[in-house]
């Protein structure tokens, strides 16, 4: 039995929001006569927690308790447009739309409070559900009283709408791929170190530790950020060493049609996970947030591949890094066939996988000599 440990490292970046089209999210908010706040948005909560995050943004922006918020994303009759929950956009783009709507509501509350208190709205602020005069905290009126005054006294509805739209970024030069505007809303960054244990006789790889760092811009809710990072880490582990729809790709034979034969990571696969959060605020996101939902599974596979090399000295560059691939690589190396081919200043890995080896000439990868 020969088990080897290894460490690997990777650093990545990932764009928030869709790349190449207008990407709208909209929201509207109304305030009930007792000051409670109803938010309508079309963002599906797929477990990512957008109901929570967007409610927090509204509570913070207006200045009322989180518990006062009701959030309705249940249907397309009551909710305005949101293209959806993908592209790491639910906080960054849709959250911004909600923030804008909440700012409008805040302005309406201050206007009416100003009339009630006979103070210029610009001299008022909202703190914990109360509108108070800046510098004169004894002059105040509660948001519920403002909402009641609006409804019964002024005959007004306190409401707000918000829309966030990233302008269309066109590829102005298809030859070079040059764009006229950034095709993303922000870029997030992460790095990951992986530790593995590799059995050089069975080829089995066990990921034992993942240490990760994410620049999240601003953690609107740190617990939910952790949830995204940890869930992503285990999906990245699945990508790295377990999962494949086609175990004999490109063949379509022996696909797994159940959990026993499709190798989704289980609790037993969980490595030790440590995470470091950096908060370098974005310019466009709500409260400086960036979108990190998707990138959370991107850094582990290359870190694991490097760790496997560190452990047993072979590069496995087809994912997942199955026991069979490790064994085949080890065997190739023992047969004197594992390393790269050196040709002048060229160091050429994986020649047998290249289109140059497989295609009869329809597509080539030409590298200048």
């Amino acid at each position: 039995m020969a088990k080897h440990t290894g460490r690997g490292f990777a650093a990545i970046e990932y764009p928030t929001g869709m790349n190449q089209n207008g990407d709208p999210s909209q929201a509207w908010i109304k305030v009930k006569p007792d000051g409670r706040v109803d938010v309508f948005a079309g963002t599906s909560d797929i477990g990512n927690g957008s109901k929570t995050i967007q409610s927090q943004i509204v509570a913070e922006t207006i200045g009322v308790p989180y518990e006062w918020i009701t959030y309705d994303n249940s249907n397309t009759d009551s909710s305005p447009v949101c293209t959806g929950t993908f592209a790491s956009r639910a906080t960054f783009v849709a959250g911004k739309a909600v923030e804008k709507a909440a700012l409008e509501v805040r302005g309406r509350i201050l206007d009416i409070a100003g009339k009630e208190l006979e103070i210029d709205p610009g001299d008022l602020e909202i703190v914990d559900g109360e509108v108070v005069a800046k510098g004169a905290p004894q002059k105040k009126i509660s948001v519920p009283d403002v909402a009641a005054a609006a409804t019964w006294g002024h005959g007004e509805l306190i409401t707000g709408t918000g829309a966030q739209l990233k302008p269309y970024a066109a590829i102005v030069d298809p030859e070079s791929g040059r764009v006229d505007l950034p095709p993303h809303s922000a870029i997030s960054y992460a790095a990951c170190a992986a530790e593995v244990e590799v059995d050089d006789e069975t080829g089995e790889v066990r990921v034992t530790r993942l240490v990760q760092c994410y620049d999240v811009g601003k953690a609107i809710n740190p617990t939910l950020v952790e949830g995204q990072i940890e869930g992503g880490a285990v999906q990245g582990l699945g990508l790295g060493v377990l999962e494949s729809c086609y175990p004999f790709y490109p063949s379509v034979e022996h696909r797994g049609g159940e959990f026993g034969t499709y190798l989704a990571p289980g609790m037993e696969d969980l490595p030790s996970i440590e995470t470091i959060i950096i908060e370098n605020p974005s310019t466009d996101g709500p409260y400086g947030a960036k979108g990190i939902g998707e990138m959370a599974n991107n850094s582990q596979p290359p870190a694991i591949a490097a760790a496997v090399f560190d452990a047993v000295g072979v590069w496995v560059t087809e994912l997942p890094i199955t026991p069979e691939r490790v064994l085949r690589a080890l065997e190739a190396r023992e047969g004197g066939d594992g390393g790269p081919r050196r040709d002048g200043k060229k160091v050429v890995f994986d020649e047998e996988l290249s289109v140059n080896a497989v295609s009869s000439g329809g597509v080539r990868f030409e590298v200048p000599a």
Partner: protein, 170 residues
């Protein structure tokens, strides 16, 4: 045949080879057990049968005459959450919520049977349950906390172990 579900006795009309999952969801309208795979592979349908965690998609109801079944509806109510329900809330152990009912019942059985807060032991007990959202970290934390008998503040949620925030960096 008879089935007691969450303390209420039911006369079941479904054919004996119908799965317990189908009886609960389609005949009795108890929808917390989920049809995640109907192959016994994911644990989203797990319920307690006479106190033991069982995959309800694998049990023919004909084998269960007189059995006592507990689903999440029988664990606690929003006003009076059970220990594992409190733990899952405080530790943010549910994201999309689809695996949660099965996880909770497995966790409940584990704690009731005197399970410890040891990660390996928890994994042994809950290891057949799939969660695709959480990466299992917070689920294990929640079960461990419930096993320890922690008390839970529902106004806030717990940080994961091994988390550091170093704020803004030049």
């Amino acid at each position: 045949m008879n089935l007691t579900v969450n303390g209420v006795e039911h006369d079941v009309a479904s054919a004996p080879l119908t799965s317990l999952l189908d009886v609960l969801r389609e005949e009795l309208g108890i929808t917390s057990p989920k049809a995640g795979c109907e192959q016994g592979g994911c644990g989203a349908c797990t319920v307690l049968v006479d106190g033991e965690a069982r995959r309800s998609c694998l049990l023919p109801v004909g084998a269960l005459d007189g059995a006592e079944v507990t689903t999440v509806e029988g664990l606690g109510t929003p006003e009076r959450l059970s220990t594992v329900q409190l733990a899952f809330t405080h530790h943010y152990a549910a994201q999309c919520g689809f695996c949660t009912s099965g996880m909770l019942l497995a966790a409940h059985a584990y704690v009731e049977h005197g399970g410890s807060d040891d990660r390996a032991e928890i994994t042994e007990a809950l290891g057949g349950h799939v969660c695709r959202c959480t990466g299992y970290v917070k689920i294990i934390e929640a079960v461990a906390a419930a096993a320890r008998g922690d008390s839970f503040d529902l106004e806030t949620t717990a940080a994961s172990p091994g988390m550091t925030n170093i704020g803004g960096v030049r």
